[in-house]
Amino acid sequence: MASIAPPLAPRKARRAARRRRPPIIPLALLLVVLIVPALAADLIAPHDPYQSHLRNRLQPPAFWGGSWEFPLGTDRLGRCMLSRILHGAWYALSISMVGIAIGAALGSAMGLIAGYARGLTDVVLMRLADISFALPAVLLVLALGVAWGPSLQAVLIVVAFVLWAQFARQVRGEVLSLRERDFVARARVAGAGHLRILLRHILPNVFNTIVVMATLQIGVIIILEATLSFLGIGIPRPAPTWGLLIADGRQFITSAWWISFFPGLAILLVVLSINLLGDWLRDRLDPRLRQI
């Protein structure tokens, strides 16, 4: 009776195998749209992104009746859209990376301390997190923008501010349960101090969570940065950030749609790819499936 074996098992195994395989398409998209342009825009961009070609203003993309000199068309000053988008990738990547690094480091440290110390420290830190959840990011950046003018620092501060509380909460929750585990008691019996327990025993066990959260937040931050730039309170002009490119195209949306469309498409592809990648990473690092 060969048919006794249920056909479910191999299908499940296949699904698990598929999950273990890295997602090729999102990775390739990320490379093409974000990472390579961010690192090598000067080499691959056909034009200087700041250079106006006044005779070629508002050129449509090549496949829409334009010329191959400006594959994705030009804006109202005749600047090459493809070059501008490629150069914008650097802003998207660097701001999200630096902002997330700051936010994750700060938030994880707060979460570790709150969850480990408990008591009053925990209460104070978590109320601070609640406050930062309640404050709209746009309001904060407006205030900073008014005080300092639009600047990179203001954007990074807002990004870190939006992120830290999420990291703090998540990390705190895991630390609360980890600190009661027997391996922490064993470490204390061995003579380990609080710092060693936090850094050698607890932090490595929440590290996966931090990495996955950071990955999933990249998309959020790229959108946040674009929003701030779109509103004119992000990175100052003439930097070709994707949000600014979209904002510049707004008044031509009916006549020269490509100015807003392609930066928007770049954001869409990047955020989608990052989220797919983050999902895969989360599955990969799930403690129940984990083989270390």
Partner: protein
Amino acid sequence: MDPGLTPPRDQAALQLRAERLTRHFTFGGGLMARGAGTVRALSEVDFELTAGQTLAIVGESGCGKSTLARLVLNLDRPTAGRVLLNGEDIHAARGRALRRFRRQVQAVFQDPWASLNPRMRVRDLVAEPLDMQHRLPRSEREERVAQVLQRVGIDPARMHAYPHEFSGGQRQRIAIASALISDPKLIVLDEPVSALDVSIRSQVMNLFRDLQEERGIAFLLIAHDLATTAFLAHRIAVMYLGRIVELGPTEQMVAAPAHPYTRSLFGAALPAHPDAGPGAPPLSGEIPSPLAQPPGCAFHTRCPARIGPVCDTQRPVPTKVGAGWSVECHLHAGTEP
């Protein structure tokens, strides 16, 4: 080998002493709420333990065994009373004294899946008590790790692996190796075999026994099964609702338990031989909540041998019923020789 022939240095000096050790947990005492509750997890517990001896603490779940273990390990502080290690109050120890305490007292926990950090290599887990004392050169450190791993029956070549690469029994051996590396005088064994397969329990229990003979280590064994206890312990302390109701030498106590609760507890275990008659009748009723302990003898609500009103109102005092054998029960009051 006679363990008395080669006593490691100053080991004969080891003496652990609990004096009226008490731990109450209060809860619900917020700013507004006045009616806080108190759980009397441990009340006025006295015992002594010397080198080369094993004292078992047995009782049902919730009787305070684990609280006692945490206090002796200095993971928690007593509400009253104290624990003395060679005359020094362990909960008052700071700095160097605390480091000395940590070196002398180690622990093996129940679940070897939970007690080994999955993110550390076996080498670092085992060496941790050593690292906390002094920095050793790498080769010397690995040498020490290899020695203890060898001793507990783990291939030292695998010290660079992670805990998940080992079976449950092997993991418990790794935990034991770690407890041994600082050459401790006392190891608290918190249900050290109850998470293991029955087939490997006896191996691990034999290992404990051999280690004790070799090194004269004292064990404080927290257990709830009688087989482990009778095999390893020289003396047994039976706990009920945070009190030691009977403490005495293993053989005599197993043969003729004096306290009605001990009788029931031992009677509930399977006899060692199938032809042996049934033990004492099983207890009926629930353990009273440690929140609202009954007055008088804590056991009177379930006691099959209750004498009368004296049990309900008067707390029995410890009474000697033999050499190193005392019972808290009115049945034995006044029988003191």
